[in-house]
């Protein structure tokens, strides 16, 4: 094919390059005129010109350069370069891309380069640019690689962007690492040194401590001597930046300073920015930073904002260090204060009694006198009273100890009825025990003699024991028993409480020892009660022991000797002189009552009743304390100071509250049931979400060790009871501020991360996603509430619905977990199910807290880009496929294949609805052809429904488009579960539009081609050959079906057959037109005069008048099919080959003369030969036998051998064998015409089924067998066998359908004879009893022939027989 296309079609569009290409003088270039360009080049140029993506076509050995408008910006000042050799266009990068292009040209395999650094001058300076190039081969019409097709995308922005983000992340990762300004500056210097590509030079200047001027604090380049630059007018404008608070750009860096470090680029920086470093909110700038811009990038807005972010990060790092130093200083001051306080309280604790007395006394009076006061006042007074009692009790206990230790305990032992005294004391506790729901058994029968006790001390002993029992007993009973035994009064206080583990029993009486984790009604308690009891019992000369089993209970047994002999005489007093009972019981009972449930009253809200004092920090504080009074007191205090307060009763509740909604500060008691304050701190710190919540611990346990324990657990501060309201408020305030300061970076980081346009996420070593930002949630639909997202995350593509996507994702994730870095584009599934394409990059980082390796990734939603590229690619592929199609059917099949591949569909089915309403023609992908009836009824319905839709508007997974023959409904069967999205439908609409255009174009070509083929076939030769002939024809230049060679057979009026094989010079269309004329002429001449020589002489004259017919060669013969006599004449044609059945080969090389028109008018010779029976004649053109570097005779011998080898094959099979055996490896490269004849031609007679026909048929068969060279005896055998078969056939014909026809066919190869008799009747099995003679027919046939097969079918019976000739 070929032909000119209008320039507008070849170079479509109105763009600059289209115009340039149309006007380009192609004819003057080595590429030649576009008319002569290969189709692939024209297609590539069209795709290039119509694409919005930068594309290049490199063509020819010099890789001449064709490009589109989109490529113009990339080409910069190199434009215009149309048609120039590639090396002259891209001289500066030819060493990089030249070899890649050459490789594609050499191997024909596509290649690509990703993020290729190409220093380019495109905007007047040498620029750092990155490109992703793909190189695909372009073939010419002969399939040779003649050019390269390149699609280009500019990835500079992405590569630079990612690198800048990495610098910011590097800086961000330093947060919290520096403990001093110097350290912070050191870290900044290290980061800047690593970031040379983006910040080739950086220097931090901070205000001198004395406030006078600035000094160099850090520089990324220690050798730069940057300090020298700060001074004077020629230095960095640091003062100006700090004064104005605005960045100052220095555009003449190279003039002002010696060359700065180039950061790996080829020239040193030309521009720099001096940026002020902001102080804490509202404060003066603390200094400035000089950041130079690399010469490889222009200092544009994006670069400037990047440098501004760097400056902000540096300022944040320095400010954090300053804050940290301040915090350290304050903490040291507070610690000093604590030490002084501890000493103070220790020294004056004994002084408490006086003020306590002065409190309690008036308080008693107040309570009495205000008995009818309002509820609130009484409640307040009760609180004061209770805690006064408790404090007094504690102070007293402590004083008791110090007295005991100092030996100054003043005891007064008087003889008492111990049973009665003890019972009285016990009764004080009855109400508390009752309220606790416990049984209280007091079993105190009178003792035989009095016991000497100090009433006050005994009271403490008994009350302490009862208090203890109540505290640890939740059900069952408490028993008090007094007995006399072995000269002792034995008092037992037993309970059915939680009990004490055996190993704890020896330590029960240790001072300040508390049993850890024991379940109790309260964690209040100093751990000195039992120690005091033991001391007191000891003073009485008695002993105390404990017996206990966990879960069963505890029993304390006191044994006091009767009498007074064991007591100091000075301390003995008469009976009745001691205090009245039970003076000191109140604190114990009041305390115990507070442990018990008081009707589940809600915690009183104090918020509205206490005036806010001082400036409120709008902060939320969570209080955790098991002591209701303390809880209420703290709440009141903090609410009054303006805090929002929530209060809970233990550590567990506190933990839940923090997790639900983290407060600004947690104030927690240390000792609490369920979960202690220390456990709470540990739990909070162990959870990433709550690790940052500050905790202030309150404890009654004084001393350095306790506070260290608290701080080690991770508490931010530690306050020992008792404490003043002012102190508490100061600590709370300091901690809230400190925490805010400390969290400032985290918050700033979170804000920065959240403000990123790109999605951001962090993956831990297990593959779980543990942090994400807002963009992440936007793109994938999964927000931070679901964190952490364990591997495999919910956004993985469905392995069933989207196996390729799943495989790609898996691959990416494996790479991520393996190497932790890289850039990938892959699909993911949005929460709502739609597919999202992500362009992601990963980098490994080390968690500064744990040292664990994490992966930080960012990604963009490139779904739109992806689909745009997919559309471009799919459209280009479809266009290419359509342009390659040879027919309408090819085009449709190919296009459906493309669609199937594009969607990885199971099948694509198209049905063509023609206007005449005929059954739709179905085309489907897949190996099996299907018809309309073979389709699933549901699919048929769907296709029919599609027909009624407007063209090119997809519905479901189908679309309708206009086909030259009618409406084409196309249905895509996606893989099960693979969703077909709106994007897919858009693409389908686009492609079906292309397909419709393509089909119409192919249809036009088809019609032209059909016409051409009809004409060609008319030229070529007879469609129906006489019997005994077989032909082959192979044109050298497909798709043309004719060439310069021809064969012809002509039935002459006298029954003979003219045979012609000829060969015109040249090939292709020109030769074919000459051939057609010669063929027709020769045919006419033979009919007029059946002498080959005469025909050729006349043809000489005719040929002389046709340009291009000169020197054509022709073999012209006339064959008598009856006798096998062949008369022939050759006009320069290769000799015919005659093969005898015995294998002898004879060349028909007589009667040879010059090719046509060489000497018109000369007579031509003629020769005769006789075809032997079963001999084979082979005529051919030189394409069959002529090979380079081989004599023609070798080819002719080979052809003779091929005929000989196939002499037993049927004729048509033989023709195929010869073509196959002689074909060169790479196929015939010249036209080939081949004609064979085997003598005699097969006999084929059809006769009416009448017995009278038998004799003439037999006669014809006898003659034919004679011509076939069979011996008379074998002739007779064949005649008998054939006669029996024919007689049978006639019988059948008579019986069932009179007048029907019997057909006999006989053919021979060199060695075999085949005979077939067909009738249209039903076979009659041998029935000798009915007709004796008929039963002998079949045995006779079998006896006469080698093989007989009888095939009965509904349509008739065929008898096939075979015999070896000569047997």
């Amino acid at each position: 094919m070929g032909g000119a296309e209008p320039a507008g079609l070849l170079f479509p569009g109105s763009g600059e390059m289209s115009a340039r290409m149309r006007e380009h003088p192609w004819g003057d270039t080595p590429m030649g005129a576009p008319d002569a360009w290969p189709a692939s080049l024209r297609t590539a140029v069209r795709i290039c010109l119509t694409s919005r993506f930068p594309m290049i076509v490199w063509w020819g050995p010099e890789l001449r350069f064709l490009y589109n408008d989109a490529y113009l910006p990339l080409l910069g000042t190199n434009h215009p370069a149309l048609g120039k050799p590639g090396e002259r266009v891209w001289t500066e990068i030819w060493h990089i891309i030249g070899p890649m292009l050459e490789s594609v040209m050499a191997t024909g395999e596509a290649t690509w380069s990703e993020d290729l650094l190409l220093p380019l001058i495109r905007h007047g300076y040498l620029e750092e640019t990155y490109w992703t190039y793909s190189y695909s081969p372009l073939h010419d019409d002969d399939g040779a690689v003649r050019g390269v097709f390149t699609a280009v995308s500019d990835t500079t922005e992405r590569v630079i962007g990612e690198r800048r983000l990495a610098v910011l992340q590097d800086l961000g990762a330093q947060a919290g690492n520096a403990r001093s300004v110097a350290e912070a500056c050191g870290l900044v210097a290290e980061v800047l040194a690593r970031a040379g590509r983006d910040v080739p030079f950086g220097a931090v200047y901070l205000r001198r401590p004395d406030g006078d001027g600035f000094e160099l604090a850090a520089t990324g380049d220690p050798d730069a001597g940057a300090a020298a630059f700060v001074q004077g007018a020629a230095g960095w404008p640091v003062e100006e930046a700090v004064r104005t608070g605005e960045p100052v750009t220095v555009a003449d860096v190279r003039d002002r300073f010696p060359p700065l470090p180039a950061g790996g680029w080829e020239s040193p920086p030309a521009e720099a920015v001096v940026l002020p470093l902001a102080g804490e909110t509202g404060a003066e700038p603390i200094g400035a930073v000089v950041l130079a811009a690399t010469a490889g990038r222009t200092l544009d807005d994006a670069y400037a904002s990047f440098l501004a972010l760097v400056a902000r990060q540096i300022a944040a790092l320095v400010n954090a260090a300053i804050a940290y130093q301040d915090q350290q200083r304050r903490a040291e001051e507070l610690a000093e204060l604590d030490r002084a306080k501890t000493a103070f309280f220790s020294n004056i604790s004994h002084e408490f009694r006086t003020p306590l007395t002065l409190i309690m006394g008036p308080l008693q009076e107040l309570r009495a006198s205000l008995g009818d006061a309002d509820e609130r006042t009484r409640t307040e007074l009760d609180v004061v009273h209770r805690n006064g009692l408790r404090l007094g009790k504690l102070v007293n206990t402590l004083l008791d100890f110090s007295r005991i230790e100092a030996g100054r305990m003043q005891a007064a032992y008087e003889p008492v009825d111990l049973a009665a005294v003890t019972a009285d004391l016990a009764s004080v506790f009855r109400s508390a025990v009752d309220r606790a729901g416990l049984a209280f058994e007091v079993d105190c029968p009178p003792l035989p003699e009095p016991v000497y006790i100090d009433r006050g001390m005994w009271e403490k002993v008994v009350l302490n024991l009862l208090s203890n029992a109540l505290k640890f007993t939740f059900d069952g009973a408490i028993r008090v028993r007094v007995r006399a035994r072995d000269g002792h009064a034995v008092v037992t206080v037993a309970d059915t409480g939680v009990g004490v583990p055996e190993h704890e029993i020896p330590r029960l009486f240790e001072r300040f020892h508390r049993i850890e984790n024991a379940r109790s009604r309260s964690n209040e308690g100093s751990g000195i009660g039992l120690a005091l009891v033991q001391e007191l019992v000891g003073l009485h000369g008695g002993t105390i022991t404990a017996a206990s089993r966990p879960g069963e209970g505890t029993a304390f047994t006191i044994a006091l000797p009767f009498g007074a002999a064991h007591l100091p005489a000075a301390s003995i007093v008469p009976a009745g002189s001691g205090e009245a009972l039970p003076a000191g019981a109140d604190p114990y009972v009041q305390e115990a009552l507070r442990w018990l449930p008081d009707g589940a009253q809600p915690e009183p809200a104090y918020g509205g009743e206490v005036q806010a004092a001082g400036p409120a920090l709008a902060a939320r504080v969570l209080i955790a304390d098991d002591n209701a009074d303390m809880r209420q007191y703290l709440a009141r205090l903090l609410e009054a100071a303006g805090y929002e307060v929530t209060a809970v009763t233990d550590g567990r509740a506190a933990l839940d509250a923090v997790r639900a909604d983290p407060p600004d500060l947690v104030v927690s008691d240390v000792m609490m049931p369920r979960m202690s304050g220390l456990q709470l701190v540990a739990a909070l710190r162990g959870d990433r979400r709550t690790a940052g919540t500050p905790v202030l611990l309150l404890s009654a346990r004084a001393g350095q060790e306790a506070s260290i324990e608290g701080l080690e657990a991770g508490a931010d501060d530690y306050l020992v009871k008792p404490f003043s309201a002012a102190e508490l408020l100061a600590r709370v305030r300091a901690n809230v501020q400190l925490a805010r300061l400390r969290n400032h970076h985290a918050r700033w980081r979170t804000a920065l991360v959240d403000s990123l346009q790109e999605a951001f996420f962090v993956v831990d070593a297990d593959g779980s996603v543990i942090e994400i930002n807002a963009a992440f949630a936007d793109i994938l639909g999964y927000g931070p509430e679901g964190l952490p997202y364990a591997f495999r995350h919910p956004w993985w593509p469905d392995p069933d619905a989207d196996p390729e996507g799943f495989a790609l994702f898996t691959q990416v994730y494996e790479r991520l977990l393996e190497t932790g870095k890289g850039s990938f584009t892959y699909p993911a599934r949005h929460r709502d199910g739609h597919q999202v394409w992500l362009a992601a990059s990963f980098n490994p980082v080390t968690d500064p807290d744990t040292g664990a390796t994490l992966v930080v990734g960012t990604f963009r939603d490139v779904t739109a880009d992806h689909y745009a590229v997919q559309r471009e690619t799919a459209t280009a592929a479809l266009s290419l496929r359509l342009s390659e199609a040879g027919s309408l059917a090819d085009a449709l099949t190919g296009a459906l294949g493309e669609l199937r591949g594009l969607w990885n569909a199971r099948r694509v089915v198209a049905a063509l609805f023609t206007p005449d309403g005929a059954e739709p023609a179905v085309t489907a992908t897949g190996p099996d052809a299907v018809g309309w009836d073979g389709l699933d009824p549901a699919l048929r319905a769907e296709l029919t429904a599609l027909r009624d839709r407007p063209p090119l508007s997809p519905a479901g997974t189908g679309v309708t488009l206009e086909h030259p023959g009618g409406l084409l409904a196309v249905h895509i069967e996606p893989h099960r579960g693979r969703p077909f999205t709106e994007e897919d439908r858009t693409l389908l609409a686009l492609l079906s539009g292309r397909l419709a255009q393509g089909l119409h174009r192919v249809h036009q070509i088809d019609q032209q081609r059909e016409t051409a083929l009809t004409l060609q076939r008319a030229i070529l030769g007879p469609a129906d050959l006489p019997d005994g002939f077989a032909v082959r024809y192979e044109p050298a230049t497909p798709p043309l079906e004719v060439g310069g060679d021809w064969y012809d057979t002509v039935r002459l009026p006298d029954g003979r057959i003219g045979i012609v094989v000829g060969d015109c010079v040249g090939r292709g269309l020109a030769a074919a037109t000459v051939m057609g004329q010669l063929r027709s002429a020769c045919r006419a001449l033979l009919i007029q005069d059946a002498r080959p020589s005469a025909a050729l002489v006349a043809l000489d004259h005719f040929a002389a008048s046709i340009p291009g017919a000169f020197c054509s060669t022709v073999f012209c013969g006339v064959l008598d099919p009856a006798t096998g006599e062949l008369t022939y004449s050759s006009a320069g044609h290769p000799p015919g080959i005659l093969t005898h059945p015995d294998g002898t080969v004879l060349m028909l090389d007589q009667a040879r003369a010059l090719p046509l028109a060489a000497r018109p008018g000369r007579p031509r010779p003629e020769a005769t030969c006789s075809m032997p029976p079963r001999g084979t004649l082979l005529l051919y053109t030189d394409g069959l036998v002529e090979r380079r570097r081989r004599p023609l005779s070798a080819g002719i011998d080979q052809a003779g051998a091929a005929v000989q080898a196939g002499r037993t094959a049927p004729l048509d099979e033989l023709a195929g064998q010869i073509m196959a055996r002689l074909a060169p490896e790479e196929g015939y490269d010249d036209d080939v015409a081949l004609l064979i004849y085997r003598h005699p031609a097969p006999l084929d007679v059809a006769f009416p089924a009448e017995s009278g026909q038998l004799a003439p048929v037999r006669s014809a068969l006898r003659d034919w067998l004679g011509a076939c060279g069979l011996a008379p005896r074998q002739i007779q055998s064949v005649l008998v066998a054939a006669g029996e078969a024919c007689a049978n056939a006639i019988e059948h014909g008579y019986r069932d359908s009179p007048g029907s026809t019997v057909r006999m066919r006989v053919s021979a190869t060199a060695d075999d004879l085949y005979l077939a008799v067909e009738d249209s009747g039903t076979w009659r099995p041998p029935r000798p009893e009915e007709n004796a003679h008929r039963g002998r027919g079949l045995p006779l046939m079998r006896a006469m022939m080698n093989r007989v097969t009888v095939l009965h079918e509904a349509t008739g019976t065929t008898v096939d027989m075979h015999t070896r000739i000569g047997s």
Binding site: S1251, A1255, R1273, Q1276, S1277, G1283, A1287, R1336
Partner: protein, 114 residues
Amino acid sequence: MTTPLTLALSRRGDGRRVLTAVGEIDMSNVARFAAELAGTSDGAPLVVDLTGVGYLDSAGLAALFAHAAHVELVATPLLEPVLTVSGLTTLLTVHGLDGAGRDGDGRDGAAPEG
């Protein structure tokens, strides 16, 4: 239309009757052949001379089988395969299959075997 066949009844010098057939015998004309055989069949021996018959099919064989008891055949080797395969040679005497010793006025015309 039937296949050409002439049938002639004669008597040899020894007095035996001879039915001479010339032409081809197939299903189209076998009825005539069979009728002639039946007409001459009166129990006396009959010589059927097939020397001039170039083709004999199973229908003709059947006619001969019917009279095998009192018939002798004269034939050329051309017919030998048919006569042998059908088993007729085992029921009656056939002269001339070896190409010699033909009786009576047998015609010369059979092609020699080759």
